[in-house]
Assembly symmetry: C2
Homo-oligomer: 210 residues x 2
DNA sequence: CATTATAGTAAGCGTTCGCTTACTTGTCAA
DNA sequence: TTGACAAGTAAGCGAACGCTTACTATAATG
C-alpha cells in the first residue's frame, strides 16, 4: 500500500528521512544524533553525508515532503455540495487524515516539539492545525448561514466551536473509543444548536431528531 | 511582587531553576547544556553541581515546584455559588491563571515539548491541561443540569465544548485581542445554546439577551 | 581565634557530538 | 575490459557535552 512505511522498498535516502522523522518527532531534533539515525537504518553514520550535506538538511527535507503531502491531501478535499452532511464529511475527512496518516501524525508531533525553538516550525504548526481548518470550516458556515441553513452566528465562532474539541483530544494522544464517542456527541450537539431550519435534513433518517 | 521573576532577590538555587525552566521550555531539556544555564545566571557551570546532583535533578525540581504552584492555585478556585456566572468565572480564572502566571506558561511549554520523549511529562500535561479542567467543568454542569438551569446534555460534552477553544487558542500562542474577542463570542454563544431557563439570569443586565 | 561549612572558580576528565577523510565495493556504460 | 561514479565503511578530527577534582574566599560558629 503505502511504500513510505514499507522499509524494504525504500531507497536509502527515503529510509533516512523516515527514520529521522520518527526519531525527531518523539525526541526532538537536537536530542537525536546522526549515529542514532544511522543505527535505525542499519548503516554507518558517515553514509548520511552521502545523501545530505548536513543534519539540518534532513529536517528541511522532512518539512518539504510533509508540507507537500499535506497540500496534496487537503487539495483533494473539495466540497461538491454545501449542506450539513458536507460539514460533517469535511470534519471527519480532516480528522481521519490527521490521525490516520502516519507521516502526518509524526509531522504534527515534530512541529509540536519544535514550535518554540524554531519559529518557522511554529508558523507551520499554526497554519496546518489551526488556521487552515478554521478558515475552511468558516467559509463553509458562511455559505450555510447565507442559505439560511445555519443560525446567524459569527462563522469563525462556529468553526472554532466544532473544530477545537478535535484539536484538543488529538493533541492529547487519546484517540480511543471513549474520545470518539464524546466527539460524536459533540458534533450531534453542535448540529442541534447551529441549525436554523432542519427541514432540509429531515429527509435523511440519520439526522432526524428523536 | 512575585519574587520568582525578580532575579535580584532569588537565591542561586532558585535562579538556576528559573533560568533552566526558561531554557528548557523553549529549547527542550536535551538541547540545553549546563554551561548555557550557568551563563544565564552569570556563574561558572560547576556551581550547578553544588546545588543539584545532576542535570536531571534540575528538571525534577522544576516539575515539583510547578505542580505545587498549580495545586495551590487550583485549590483556591472553589465555587461559592453554582450558577452560570460561576461557570464563566471558573473558565476565566483558569484561563487567566494559565496565560498570566509566567511559571505556568513556561511549564506548559516545557510539558508540551517533552510530552512524547518523557511519558511522565505527557501524563502531567494531560492531567493539568485537559483532564482536570474538563472534570471541574463537568461536575459543575452536572449540578446546573440537575437544577434545571442547563439543558440535559452529557456534561462532559458541555465541558469539552466550552473549554476546547481555550485550549486550542492557548496552544497556538495567539492570545491577542482578536482571539479574546472570538473566545468571548464563543462563551456567549455557548451560554445561549446551553441554558434551559434564563429567568434566573435575567436579573443581571449583563446576561440579558438583546 | 581557630574551625568548619558553604558557595564559588579554573581546569580537565571521558564521552559523544556533527562531520570529514581515505578507502573499498558494486554497477554500468563506452 | 576498463574507467567513472555512486554507495558504502572505518577511523578520527575538533568541539561540546555532563560532570568531577582541587582549590579559594567568605561567613558563621565553638
Amino acid at each position: 500500500m503505502d511504500n513510505n512505511t514499507d522499509n524494504t522498498k525504500m531507497t536509502t535516502k527515503e529510509a533516512i528521512v523516515y527514520e529521522s522523522l520518527k526519531l525527531f518527532s518523539t525526541n526532538g531534533y537536537d536530542a537525536v544524533s546522526t549515529r542514532m539515525i544511522a543505527k535505525g537504518v542499519n548503516l554507518s553514520d558517515a553514509v548520511i553525508y552521502k545523501h545530505f550535506k548536513n543534519k539540518r538538511e534532513i529536517l528541511d527535507t522532512i518539512v518539504t515532503i510533509c508540507k507537500e503531502k499535506y497540500r496534496a491531501k487537503t487539495a483533494a478535499i473539495a466540497p461538491d455540495s454545501m449542506d450539513w452532511k458536507m460539514v460533517e464529511q469535511i470534519c471527519m475527512d480532516i480528522f481521519k487524515f490527521q490521525v490516520t496518516d502516519e507521516w502526518m501524525v509524526l509531522f504534527r508531533k515534530l512541529l509540536t516539539v519544535e514550535q518554540y525553538k524554531n519559529p518557522e516550525m511554529g508558523k507551520i504548526f499554526r497554519e496546518i492545525w489551526i488556521d487552515a481548518p478554521l478558515e475552511k470550516l468558516s467559509s463553509m458556515f458562511s455559505v450555510l448561514i447565507e442559505q439560511g441553513y445555519v443560525k446567524k452566528v459569527n462563522p469563525k465562532v462556529l468553526a472554532t466551536d466544532i473544530y477545537a474539541p478535535f484539536f484538543m483530544y488529538r493533541s492529547a494522544e487519546m484517540a480511543d473509543e471513549e474520545i470518539l464517542k464524546i466527539l460524536q456527541e459533540h458534533v450531534t450537539n453542535f448540529r442541534y444548536n447551529a441549525i436554523a431550519d432542519e427541514s432540509y435534513l429531515i429527509m435523511d433518517e440519520k439526522y432526524r431528531r428523536k
